[in-house]
Subunit: 392 residues, 2 copies
């Protein structure tokens, strides 16, 4: 148990209140007597703390226990609706925003396309503000009840000051709008900005329910590639936010992002289709450079030989990448996200079998929340922030 602040009686009282609150949140509805046993605090102290927590609205009585003997206990439970938080994903093509309660449950959610045409600073800012205002109005949640916000940003975020750089192309120029300082001015509650893939990784880490000693790599592959790392239970960013920026990793077939992105898959498909001498209708797999790689996955599910061969080749490359990363990092879990995450049914077992040679084989999984990963991570971060503000 470390401390940074001086321990005054008031601080101690606050500490004990949150010790009790944590126990209630973690252990569900409990009686005062239970809480006294679990925390080691005396019954009067627990009662007094509960009274204050009820007064603050964080906790409420919720019926009685069915004991075998003795007086029935009054149970108290966490009131997740005491406050709300905002979690958002500012994507290159779309905005997702969610209002969640303090239990992390999303109460109101909206997905919006970004404004067409040139995304200037003012357009971007106005769009953000109006979207958030709109969601708040729809939900009927009062401003005072909103306590924190977190934004997932497709770019590099400086953890020190929340400033933003290296945004994806469609958002370029909006760095100043998405900086933490600016967002906090607009909303105005405590705000964090964080790289989108890092938030996705956090969401998967939490929902996996793994121990704090475990680590997780979120490997996002779509139009581009990215990685998010959770180590010691928190986001590991690395020098200049570069941890998990896997795009530049060299594989035997070339640069990771060139080889494994949807564009890389398309090129691989084109090459293999040209070499393919067997019969059958394979022309539709030769998608044009501007097209998508979606047909390949459909073809695999239909069992077409060429598509299967392409995917086998692709998985060789994917396994090489994951293998290298695991040799360096040894994550407990690797989660596939982005475009790829949605094809876990095809990829996971192929990848699994190819990683047999690895000394420490991680648990493999596909993203369990799909394209909502980032928003969920943002919500979770916002909830954490709101709690931290209350504790302080």
């Amino acid at each position: 148990m470390r401390i940074q602040t001086a321990g005054t009686p008031k601080v101690m009282r606050n500490l004990n209140e949150f010790l009790i609150l944590d126990q209630i949140i973690g252990g569900g509805p409990q009686s005062r007597a239970d809480l006294s046993r679990y925390t080691g605090l005396s019954k009067p102290t627990v009662s007094s703390a509960i009274a204050h927590l009820i007064e603050r609205g964080l906790v409420r009585e919720t019926g009685r226990a069915e004991n075998t003997q003795g007086r029935k206990a009054t149970l108290v439970e966490f009131n997740p609706k005491c406050f709300y938080t905002l979690g958002a994903e500012v994507g290159g093509s779309g905005l997702r925003i969610a209002l969640a309660d303090m239990g992390g449950e999303i109460c109101y959610y909206k997905q919006l396309a970004m404004p067409e045409g040139g995304l200037t600073e003012t357009v971007c800012q106005d769009f953000l503000v109006q979207s958030i205002e709109g969601l708040l109005a729809d939900s009927g949640i009062s401003r005072e009840k909103l306590r924190a916000a977190a934004f997932g940003i497709p770019g590099v975020v400086d953890p020190a000051d929340g400033s933003v750089s290296d945004l994806v192309a469609p958002l370029r120029g909006c760095e100043a709008v998405l900086a933490r300082a600016n967002l906090a001015r607009l909303i105005p509650v405590p705000v964090v900005t964080e790289n989108d893939v890092n938030l996705a990784a956090l969401a998967e880490y939490t929902s996996s329910g793994m121990a704090a000693s475990g680590s997780l790599l979120y490997f996002s592959i779509g139009a581009g590639t990215g990685g998010g790392l959770i180590i010691h239970g928190e986001i590991y960013r690395g020098l200049g936010g570069g941890a998990g920026e896997l795009a530049n990793l060299m594989l035997s077939a070339g640069r990771l992002e060139d080889v494994l992105s949807t564009d890389g898959l398309r090129q691989l498909a084109n090459r293999m289709a040209k070499e393919y001498t067997g019969a059958g209708d394979t022309a539709h797999l030769l998608s044009t450079p501007g097209g998508t790689a979606a047909q390949i996955w459909d073809a695999v599910r239909r069992g077409e030989p060429l598509a299967l061969a392409i995917i086998e080749a692709y998985c060789n490359l994917l396994a090489e990448a994951v293998g290298s990363i695991c040799t360096v990092m040894a994550p407990t879990t690797v989660v596939l996200g982005g475009e790829l995450g949605s094809h876990g049914d095809i990829l996971l077992e192929r990848l699994e079998s190819r990683l047999g040679g690895l000394h420490r084989k991680p648990r493999l999984a596909a993203s369990s929340h799909g394209d909502k990963d980032v928003v969920l991570g943002a919500v979770q971060t916002a909830v954490q922030l709101a709690f931290r503000e209350m504790r302080a």
Copy 2:
């Protein structure tokens, strides 16, 4: 400020005492008035805490300040000799043990060759016990003053229970002896066991004085290769202790350990010497398989062309390895250790120039403590452990 335990008055008092102690350790000799200002605690509270710390022997008065005005302050300072700790490196060929004070300063140090012949369990255990007994006797430090011990082990250590596996060849069979539970029975103080390279990484991390947000990779290359990672200020072990086990990383020229170990360097030298058509006395570089690679470094320092060419080729491989690792991990600092660390004068600038293409270029350094890295890391870990025990 988090808390796991209930906040009783006694706990609060202890917390405040250690808050003050930390400030004294971090800030050097200070007056009670200074401490009151820095910690935010009132002067009477500080005075009372200091009285208790002096009574416990952790702190002592140390003269008076030279103020410009007013009454001269009595300074108090940390007394590092209040307790002692043991740090050890159990190597394949030798044992290093150190007795250090609570300031981490090594007071007594001994380096011993492991017993010749078959290293059975009993031989290993007796040797350990006698070595430690001997050092304690030499130092004249009483058993009661010894408060913790840490052992660096060349193998995989399970952080959960401190058990040991995959020991290097010479120590194989001594797993049970080096397990934490057994060592704690022998000494008997709180004991930690930890992988040796991880401890070396910790030693470098601490002595570099970097911020907690920084991360460090200790890249040890000798007869074998190993890596230690410090992330969020603590050792990151990864799944099954596999983080930083770089040996199996595939480079363009083959498996990392095969290519970069002293043996790999020797093979590279042999290959290049055979191809070498130039004149000059190069025969001595063709060392026999049982020899060492040491001649190459000497030859480089003498400026011999073949040796220089070999090192250039070797650095290409080294840069490929470090580059891959940095792309995944983005450590703030990379430290070269083991055999290689001692040739930083030759390697560092060559490596530096080859990493120019890297997006996030880490600080490069050679091990600053050489072959004492592990013992220093062990001492530091033991000191931390001793403090943790006192706080609890």
